[in-house]
């Protein structure tokens, strides 16, 4: 997980969970693979069918605003998205992604363009835009969140550290 290499899919500011997984597919929430086929359908109909393993979703401010539906993070996991890079995130989406083991990175994404080849170095806090020969730094995640990510998500983290995690101690 520490180095993720893939192409950038660029999106704008304030991308809502309604745009990621529209409410009209509410009935597919218990069939997340089918739901994933509709990810971003209203703003980039090519996304779900063309996204490749480890590709990166790159956005502007406030990514994932709106509803708490964790399916909005889950569909990216299912489609094999390597990480989400944005200038900022809505807080519930941010937690949901980490809880599912999907890296979320806050940095200035202005220079990154759609289709750029990127390399994300999670531990070092660097994103390299290979296409532009650019190196972008970000503040690495706090250790607690990085541990959850590395375990593969919150459920895995809780199971793996049974008896010793904060959840059992308090």
């Amino acid at each position: 997980m520490s180095v993720i290499r893939g192409r950038a899919w660029k999106f704008g500011d304030n991308i809502s969970t309604d745009l990621i997984v529209p409410g009209r597919y509410f009935h597919l929430r218990s069939k997340p693979k089918e739901l994933a086929e509709h990810a971003f359908e209203d703003i980039n109909p090519n996304f779900a069918r063309s996204v490749r393993r480890n590709d990166l979703v790159v956005a502007g401010e406030n990514f994932g605003i709106g509803s708490s539906r964790e399916h909005a993070a889950l569909v990216f996991k299912i489609l094999g998205v390597g990480a989400i890079l944005a200038k900022s995130f809505a807080r519930i989406f941010y937690r949901n992604a980490i809880n599912l083991g999907l890296p979320v990175i806050m940095l200035d994404t202005s220079a990154i363009e759609d289709g750029d080849l990127l390399e994300v170095h999670l531990d070092e806090g660097v994103v390299i835009d290979v296409s532009k020969n650019l190196s972008l730094r970000f503040k690495p995640l706090p250790k607690f969140l990085l541990d959850i990510l590395k375990a593969g998500g919150l459920i895995e983290y809780v199971i793996a550290s049974k008896g010793v995690t904060a959840f059992h101690e308090v």
Partner: protein, 418 residues
């Protein structure tokens, strides 16, 4: 330095002084989920291989988003929820009981409780001085198992509101005004603490509208200090509060202070597709509408239905408009029936929907057609929210929506209020 209300509530629960920025694990009092989020939460809970809930009397499921179910897939999700609740001893509110946040406030929450809800508008319960926030299904699954949650103690914004709401202006206009000032990410990760002379005089119904929309500016929660209005609300429901007094310290430190003079407000409306694109209703008067919706966790309460009926009395809904009204809970529905409100709405040409989320989530009961325009009392107007990306949603108060339903176009409610 003193503590904010958010810091106080979290300190109280963790038995030590916690400060903004601390990452803590806290015990929680209530764990909530609805039919859009509970099935995933249950599946995640099952992966934990923990047989029992931390406390079945504290885990509550609500069937409100697709209620009654419009599709067999959702009917099966409901069966899954009911069967899990029965086996594990969780509480379940089925079709017709009402919206998660309203039923929770009417029947369960107590001041100073910590509430984890798999729904972004869980912050609504902050109006009763609880620390209530929205989370995803996995956080809720872990809370169902252990009764605990990790969180970062939020910084707070102090929102001071003085003055009185002028005629035709309501809590929803105030909430829209704040959304317009702060923007959709203006308070991300923050707790909004509402105070001031106006808040003290605001009814519980109106307070709930304010805290409900805290998440629309990105906030973790919105909180109102415990006072007589809160205590009376709880006592009327046979649930006397454990605490009678809880407020932020005078010298608490806030990340930002926003001052609003309510006297200066006028009826407001949010334009598609952003909650913060807020302008005076008068600026878009005359815009044709096809559907008008009064309800939701934002504005489906008795006070909202009363103002709706007062506008519709001896008037008719415009022939080219569908007016849909959904009481937020069974309790509200019954009270509205007794007061003759439902009679007035139906006579005027409105359609009563069952207590629940109605068309707000785009699943059923009023999905918009291509190029249609809806004016709604809900909290979100994102593109596609009501089931069709080729439609438009305007957000306004129940008075503005009712006035617009009569005229068939966006209308300033002051024109029809006597």
């Amino acid at each position: 330095m003193g503590l904010t209300l958010a810091e106080k509530l979290l300190s109280l629960k963790t038995n030590r002084e916690v400060r903004a920025g601390d990452i803590i694990v806290t015990r929680v009092d209530w764990v909530l989920a609805q039919d859009g989020t509970a099935p995933l939460a249950i599946r995640q809970f099952m992966r934990l291989k923990k047989d029992v809930l931390f406390n079945g009397h504290r885990v509550i499921f609500f069937i409100d988003h697709a209620a009654p179910s419009p599709r067999r897939e959702l009917s099966n999700d409901h069966i899954f929820m009911r069967s899990f609740a029965r086996k594990k001893g969780a509480i379940l509110h089925d079709v017709g009981d009402g919206i998660i946040h309203q039923v929770f406030v009417e029947r369960y929450v107590n001041p100073c409780d910590i509430v984890v809800g798999a729904d972004s508008h869980t912050c609504t319960a902050g109006a009763l001085c609880a620390f209530a926030a929205g989370f995803g299904s996995t956080d809720v699954a872990v809370a169902m198992a252990f009764g605990k949650l990790w969180l970062r103690v939020p910084e707070s914004y102090e929102i001071v509101i003085d003055g009185r709401l002028p005629k035709g202006v309501f809590a929803k206009d105030l909430a829209l005004h704040i959304a317009g000032k702060l923007g959709p990410g203006g308070a991300t990760y923050m707790a909004l603490e509402f105070k001031g002379d106006l808040i003290e005089h605001l009814s519980m119904d109106s307070r709930l509208t304010l805290t409900n929309m805290a998440v629309e500016v990105g906030a973790k929660t919105g909180i109102i200090e415990l006072d007589d209005v809160t205590c009376r609300f709880l006592e009327e429901r046979g649930r006397p509060p454990r605490y009678r007094d809880m407020k932020a310290d005078e010298d608490a430190s806030y990340a930002r202070r926003l001052y609003v003079d309510a006297n200066d407000l006028e009826p407001l409306i949010a334009l598609p597709h952003r909650v913060d694109k807020v302008v005076p209703v008068s600026k878009v008067e005359g815009k044709q509408i096809h559907q008008a919706f009064i309800g939701t966790c934002t504005n489906g309460r008795l006070e909202d239905l009363r103002i709706t009926a007062s506008i519709l009395r001896s008037r008719k809904v415009h022939r080219d408009v569908r007016l849909l009204v959904a009481p937020a809970s069974r309790e509200i529905y019954l009270k509205a029936l007794r007061e003759g409100i439902i009679d007035t709405i139906v006579r005027a040409g409105g359609v009563i929907l069952p207590p629940g989320c109605g068309p707000c989530v785009g699943v059923h009961l009023g999905v918009l057609g291509d190029d249609e325009v809806c004016i709604s009392t809900q909290n979100r107007n994102f593109q596609g929210r009501m089931g069709n990306p080729n439609s438009a949603i305007f957000l306004a108060s129940p008075a503005t929506v009712a006035a617009s339903a009569i005229k068939g176009e966006v209308t300033d409610p002051r024109e029809v209020l006597s």
